[in-house]
């Protein structure tokens, strides 16, 4: 009988302890979890790699100004990231 009563106390103790730990310490508020950190709103790594500053006006494969990037249809050459001006000027 004593084992049963002690067990009930144990359940309550563990349950309260877990609740206090999780809600008190480990709970994550959406406001702080998804808040803007620092000055960048969106990390560069999350974005799809564009081909350059005016990538939206580039022709799809086979258009007049395609071939600029060596024939890759999407994304552009990986090495060009960060230096788009040089890439376009070099091949124009």
């Amino acid at each position: 009988m004593r084992a049963f009563l002690l067990a009930c106390v144990g359940v309550l103790a563990v349950a309260f302890g877990a609740y206090a730990l999780l809600e008190g310490v480990l709970a994550r508020n959406a406001g702080t979890e998804f808040a803007v950190k620092g000055s960048t709103r969106v990390s560069e790594a999350d974005k799809v790699d564009p081909r350059g500053y005016l990538s939206s006006v580039h022709e799809p494969a086979g258009g007049v100004s395609s071939g600029r990037d060596g024939g890759r249809a999407v994304g552009g050459p990986a090495k060009d990231r960060g230096r788009p001006a040089e890439a376009t000027e070099g091949k124009r």
């Binding site: 084992a3 067990a7 009930c8 359940v11 349950a15 609740y19 994550r28 998804f34 999350d46």
Partner: protein
């Protein structure tokens, strides 16, 4: 002069005969009020669909086969998911599948218990005339068992509230009371889950040695001791009990793991991960509840004398020799023909 006039007439005739078209026919326009309001289809652009085709495609638009995800300029990255079609499947599972699965499992469990009670009756034994008893479960064993059991009852009730509460309880409890109770139930479910997990882990460690399957267990199964009133050889736990042990430990661990994962932020596993976790959790829970219903029946009324093992800790010696003879032999040594025990060493 006459030739010029003739040529001019010919020209006029030619012009008159040629078909007149103000604009090239683009497509049929089904409504005139659009034209009245000044909407004219642009003939120089080649439209990729007629009006009817557009309406048909819009009406038939189906959910994409997989989720569509893009970029969103907000810190909460999970908002980048535009459409997730798996939600529809999960919705049907949650609304229809869950209720059927739980209903059938619970119904089968209760039916099995009733059939066992009616057809097989209570499993009785002759008590030891000298009143000798043998220790079966130590205090720590009983503590762990009851901690797990009490947790399980609380978890099962609060969990079943998620499945059946809206249809069975809410209509007569009223919205406010039912919502308050469900909110309390959710908190209890999430907190007590850790007590349950601790108990299961303790059981997994403490009793695993006694629950390993040996050859004698196949004999027990073949003898049909589950259904008929025969007492086949058994160790500390008979083969049926070992099955329940493994079901409870493995199922309980899986329930605990899925439960804890569901408490993490959605972006940890993604919405599809959450759907999968909830599905596994609810199906396993249904199976476990059915299993424990059988266990409770056998441990209380079904097998006379077995409840003492978990409440007092010791059992009648004859009960032990009837149900777990190999265990008694191990604990007390061989039994001589005259009924006395030889020492184990």
């Amino acid at each position: 002069m006459t030739r010029t006039i003739l040529l001019a007439l010919l020209l006029l005739l030619g012009l008159a005969a040629a078909p007149f078209d103000v604009a090239p026919p683009a497509f049929a326009q089904s409504s005139n009020e659009a034209t009245d309001r000044g909407v004219h289809p642009n003939p120089s652009r080649n439209p990729s669909a007629t009006d009817e085709e557009l309406m048909r495609v819009l009406g038939q638009e189906r959910l994409p086969p997989d989720r569509v995800q893009g970029n969103v300029y907000l810190p909460d990255r999970k908002l980048g998911v535009l459409i997730q079609p798996q939600g529809r499947t999960w919705r049907d599972f949650r609304v229809t599948g869950t209720r059927w699965i739980h209903g059938i499992l619970l119904g089968l469990a209760v039916l099995a218990v009733i059939l066992l009670a009616v057809l097989r009756g209570r499993d009785r034994y002759r008590t030891d005339p000298e009143g000798r008893r043998i220790l079966r479960f130590r205090a720590v064993d009983r503590f762990v068992h009851w901690m797990t059991a009490v947790s399980f009852i609380l978890l099962a009730l609060t969990g079943l509230n998620f499945v059946f509460g809206r249809t069975l309880l809410q209509p007569w409890m009223g919205d406010g009371a039912f919502s308050a109770m469900s909110l309390w139930g959710l908190s209890v479910h999430n907190a007590v889950g850790f007590a349950f997990l601790l108990g299961i882990l303790a059981m997994a460690v403490m009793w695993v040695q006694d629950n390993l399957f040996h050859r004698v267990d196949w004999v027990w199964f073949r003898s049909g001791a589950l259904f008929r009133k025969v007492h086949a050889p058994a160790e500390k736990f008979n083969a049926g009990q070992k099955l329940i042990y493994w079901g409870a430990v493995l199922g309980g661990l899986a329930l605990g793991v899925t439960g804890v994962l569901m408490m993490l932020p959605i972006s940890t596993v993604g919405v599809n991960g959450m759907q999968w976790l909830q599905g596994v959790h609810t199906v396993l829970a249904g199976l476990m509840i059915a299993l424990i219903i059988g266990h409770i029946y056998l441990g209380t009324w079904g097998v006379e004398g077995s409840f003492e093992a978990m409440s007092r800790g010791d059992v009648d010696l004859h009960w032990a020799r009837t149900h777990h003879p190999l265990w008694v032999e191990d604990a007390y040594g061989r039994r001589r023909p005259d009924g006395r025990f030889e020492p184990a060493e």
